[in-house]
Symmetry: C2
Amino acid sequence: MTTTAPRRRASISDVARLARVSVGTVSNVLNRPDRVSPATRERVVAAIDELEFVPNGSARQLRAGTITTAGAIVLDVANPFFTDVARGIEDRLDEAGYTLMLASSDEEPEREARYLRLFEEHGVQGVMVVPATDELDHLESLRARGLRVVLLDRPSPSDTLSSVAVDDRAGAAAATQHLVGLGHERLAFLNGPHSIRQCADRSDGIRSALAAADMDPDEALVEVTIRSLNADGGQAGTQRVLALEDRPTAMVCVNDLTALGALRSLRIAGVPVPSGMAVVGYDDVAFAGELATPLTSVRQPTHQLGYRAADLLLDADDTVAHVTFQPELVVRESTTGVG
Amino acid sequence: MTTTAPRRRASISDVARLARVSVGTVSNVLNRPDRVSPATRERVVAAIDELEFVPNGSARQLRAGTITTAGAIVLDVANPFFTDVARGIEDRLDEAGYTLMLASSDEEPEREARYLRLFEEHGVQGVMVVPATDELDHLESLRARGLRVVLLDRPSPSDTLSSVAVDDRAGAAAATQHLVGLGHERLAFLNGPHSIRQCADRSDGIRSALAAADMDPDEALVEVTIRSLNADGGQAGTQRVLALEDRPTAMVCVNDLTALGALRSLRIAGVPVPSGMAVVGYDDVAFAGELATPLTSVRQPTHQLGYRAADLLLDADDTVAHVTFQPELVVRESTTGVG
DNA sequence: TTCGCGTGATGAACCGATTCACAGGGGACG
DNA sequence: CGTCCCCTGTGAATCGGTTCATCACGCGAA
């Protein structure tokens, strides 16, 4: 093994010296090869290969000003919803030859700010952000400083920031219509606190769908607020639903993990699904269709969400746009089965 | 809304002019505030605020040479295994004030190469890579050019590249020992092609564990190769297992999605789990414990994998190390239940 | 032979920061 | 009152590219 000691990275002038040309010529070989005669071009390329020359991006960016990088900040890269979104972003950027810098804010505004600052220092073209707070002033000023900003999974309240979001009201309404159509007259909704916008919107959606079906939301709906939006929360919430005297015949869960806990709780209690209780989830995660009782769920176009966000960011005219996607109800046995 | 037209980004000399000091002084305020008298420091800070000055990272990096960014390339950011790893990387980098540039290669060597090049141009300190190919020469030469390289989920074959991996043989062996200990004498292994290193290693692990238990692997083990490593593949493979004349009493699946398909197939065939067939998965994905029959699975320390990889990358001495993590068998009802 | 022109290469200015040798201005001390 | 030193602040060099005005050269036309 001959690991040569990490030598200093070769610069363009090293190449120029070795090829016996000026740095300007090397630069031309790199960027406008047609302006260089074949003979010298060959010499320069040979020198580049020999020195394993890789141009210094900082220097190039400093002088040329342009850069093909965009940043994205999501709440948590380990969350499948966001990774699908990230994947969509990456795919679109890739088409344009751009690269992505990805980071998680963990819903902490300071982390978000830190990454935004870092992205800005590195001169990214723009950022796509799932905002950690309601307050968007810092994003507005970023925008005013010339960066492109696209809000992710959050409709923009302003006409200066572009946004890409999914219509949470419509998703919840679709689930509700489906259940009402199946004859259910009393529903439970396992939901998180309304301080989370998505939770509030979904609650809204259910209520308006009920109203549209000539049902009184206050009578037909029991909303159970759960602490943690995961399987344990769903299990606990379901126990409370089962204890109600006028027990609902169907449940909507704020996400699939919650629904998973609900199914577990129902199994333990010996309640058959869907005949004893129909269940609808939200997100349509990968395993929703693979459960013992495949789960009816609201699918969000996550990949498209990211793809479109990147699309807006790359838009040549830098126009401000607001895109709202419609979610899609995926019907499976947890509402229509024979169990 | 008064969105001022995107003005040119303020530079350090703009700040200097406004504060009536030299650029050197502004730089000092930024980097060594104690060398500047409180009075001027205040003036400079005021100017910085007024101009919303954000230092140009390219210029800084060009001159100072240092950068606090690292790159990572995984096979697919939408895959939970890799996102957990990425999260571990991010957490460790965050502690050191570093930032991560994350990308997916989709197992395409050209994409991997493109991103590596881009990272190198941007002057990252190092890269963490899940290699898309067996061939590692390009990583060796990256290393020779002074970048730090850490292989992810792949033991390093060389003594110049650091690596962080999980012992796949041990994981498969642990699953096997568990089943043998429960009295199973004939096992099936739903596996992918041995061209995938993980698959080959896990097969090895099972065989050697059987041998260690004084059983003849060729007799006690039926290895079924499935096309796609997902639920459908698992379902199809399980049907083939059930059709065997000397039917095994336990199955090891190469990952949890495959096991999911196996469970579905068994349910359809009316085979109780685990009394009719015990099932073990691999990966211990989030929903493994939430299934109708909670799944016994081999958990890999994904987060630690990434965390440790970043740790090696940040190592002050730049030592080359090879870290191997031991997976852990998580026992649930799919092997020990009463079903 | 001279002039004009196109091709190909040159070299210096420039991007925006960091860094360092150095200058000016007190204050302490003899 | 003169020295020396410390404290601040200055300004120029520098990092590694890109870009552009300029120049050398060769060749065909006049």
